[in-house]
């Protein structure tokens, strides 16, 4: 499977206290890749590097088979980008912003842009400076989609938008992907939202890629298990231990495991432990536990 985005050994120092280190991203072509991470993890910095807006200290980047930054102009003609902060010129009207964008993108689809504009209820003569946050968000996604990109890079596209508008924005993006098979790289900390749409996830924390895998694998068999008298080591466990924490009010521990199946209870029975509770976890819980575990290892 080819990758729409591929980075190898990417290093970048943004400040004295923050750096991206040895970032190896693999975003499969045609996937909807959720780029997760807490605030300040380096998601937007990574996107700036991908789009050639900052130069890495070392490492390589390829977008749609084009080397970045050398072939950035050619790559950008096939990339729709929605930045974290809206970047269109506030003095323009919506139609002027569309015409401006169209002039730079050869694949601009004017009729589809108009349909999107009508669907989003964006009046053509309204000035951008007078738009609400939600309307600006819709305009951003309109501009990114109407250029018919092969790769959509969305940096917190729905952050701060109300649920109705979030749904509109995501629906428009997903319709486009369903129609064209484009790749989507979406950065967000709204994990529940990504859980519904993504098929791949990458987790970034403090500039390190903590995990990268298909969503099903990420969530697959993720369970929280409360155990009494747990074994000291889980080296021979049939599942993958993500984290283990002592219970503050008892002798037991809470384990977060991946790849759990019911017959694995025997593992605890054999080691003299007692499983008191096994509960499902959603993506957000897995994400939080993964970060906790990764930070504990780093310390």
């Amino acid at each position: 499977m080819s990758n729409a985005i591929e980075t190898r050994g990417l290093n970048y120092r943004a400040s004295r206290t923050f750096a991206l280190e040895n970032l190896n991203l693999n975003v499969p072509t045609g996937s909807i890749y959720g780029f997760l991470g807490p605030n300040g993890a380096g998601k937007s910095t990574t996107i700036r590097l991908l789009l050639g807006m900052a130069r890495p200290a070392s490492g390589s980047i390829e977008l749609l088979g084009k080397k970045i930054p050398g072939e950035i102009a050619s790559a950008l003609s096939r990339i729709g980008y929605v930045p974290e902060r809206p970047h269109v010129f506030p003095a323009l009207t919506i139609d002027e912003a569309m015409r401006m964008h169209a002039s730079f993108f050869e694949r601009w689809d004017a009729s589809w842009a108009k349909r999107l504009r009508d669907w989003f209820a964006l009046g053509p003569d309204r000035r951008i400076s007078k738009l609400s946050k939600g309307e600006t968000g819709k305009l951003m996604i309109l501009l990114a989609l109407a250029q018919r990109p092969d790769l959509l890079i969305l940096d917190e596209p729905t952050d701060g938008l109300d649920p109705m508008i979030r749904r509109d924005v995501l629906t428009a993006s997903l319709d486009y992907v369903a129609e064209t098979g484009a790749t989507v790289f979406i950065s967000s900390h709204l994990i529940h939202e990504l859980e519904r749409i993504c098929d791949w996830v990458g987790v970034l924390d403090h500039g390190h890629l903590v995990a990268e895998m298909p969503l099903q694998q990420f969530k697959g068999g993720a369970m929280r298990i409360r155990v009494s008298n747990p074994p000291a080591s889980a080296a021979d466990a049939p599942f993958r231990l993500v984290s283990r924490t002592s219970e503050p009010l008892g002798p037991g521990e809470t384990w977060v495991v991946n790849g759990w199946q019911d017959d694995m209870r025997q593992y605890f029975d054999r080691s003299g432990a007692t499983v008191r509770e096994v509960s499902d976890m959603d993506l957000e819980e897995v994400f939080v536990e993964m970060l906790r575990s990764s930070r504990a290892v780093t310390k």
Binding site: S74, F89, L92, M100, S103, F104, F105
Partner: protein, 230 residues
């Protein structure tokens, strides 16, 4: 005319139109005012002496390089103002090279710059039509307008280049430049004293010579700004 250029021209027009309006008015009115001044305040009922025409223009000629300076700086700064506010993200996400984007912006700004130049040309022609040129003197409207265009273009180009960078980079360059000039001057003064040779030029003198003396780019500001001359 490419569509990109047209769109950037529209964007620049929307940004600059209000501050540019008084400049256009001044560019039209000032030559008219300066030319009419000698005629109005000349001896009643007689022809204005050539020396007075030149003197009156000379008194006011400083306004034209000043206007050229304001025009160039204003148009260059407004060319980049929205890009700076958006941290250049929009421009950097477009599928054109940075050089091409800058050239398109520069061309759009040059088009804007023509508006006050045209106003100046119209004002000059109107002033000359209303003012008799004394015997022995000649009108030089074309060279006057060309001088204004050249001066405004030089300032525009210099400011455009400086403003195209981020504020941080511009500040670093300016600070380094000032430091080189200051330390260079101190060092050359020290050398002059040590070698008893005052023919060694300081960086300030060197800079002045390179920029303001012919064929330096800013020489045009110090030249003759008279519309009617001998």
């Amino acid at each position: 005319m490419s569509d990109m250029y047209r769109q950037l021209l529209n964007l620049h027009w929307k940004t600059v139109r209000w501050p540019l309006a008084p400049v256009i008015l001044l560019a039209f009115g000032l030559p008219l005012f300066v030319l009419r001044l000698a005629d109005v305040f000349g001896p009643a009922g007689t022809r204005v002496p050539p020396a007075m025409v030149i003197h009156m223009q000379g008194e006011w000629s400083f306004v034209f390089p000043f206007l050229a300076l304001i025009t160039g700086v204003m148009i260059a700064l407004t060319a980049w103002s929205w890009d700076h506010q958006g941290r250049h993200v929009y421009a950097l996400s477009l599928p054109v090279s940075r050089g091409r984007y800058s050239m398109l912006k520069f061309a759009a700004g040059m088009t804007m710059l023509l508006l006050p130049v045209i106003a100046l040309a119209v004002g000059t022609m109107a002033g000359l039509a209303a003012t008799p040129v004394p015997t022995g003197l000649h009108a030089y409207p074309l060279s006057f307008v060309a001088r204004f265009l050249l001066a405004a273009t030089i300032v525009y180009a210099a400011t455009f280049a400086a403003a195209s960078s981020t504020v941080r980079t511009t500040a670093i360059i300016l600070v380094l430049f000032v430091l080189v000039v200051i330390f260079g001057t101190v060092f050359v003064s020290f050398l002059q004293e040590a070698l008893h040779d005052h023919s060694i030029v300081t960086p300030i003198e060197l800079l002045y010579t390179a920029l303001a003396r012919w064929p330096g780019p800013f020489n045009v500001f110090g030249g003759n700004w008279l519309i009617i001359d001998a």
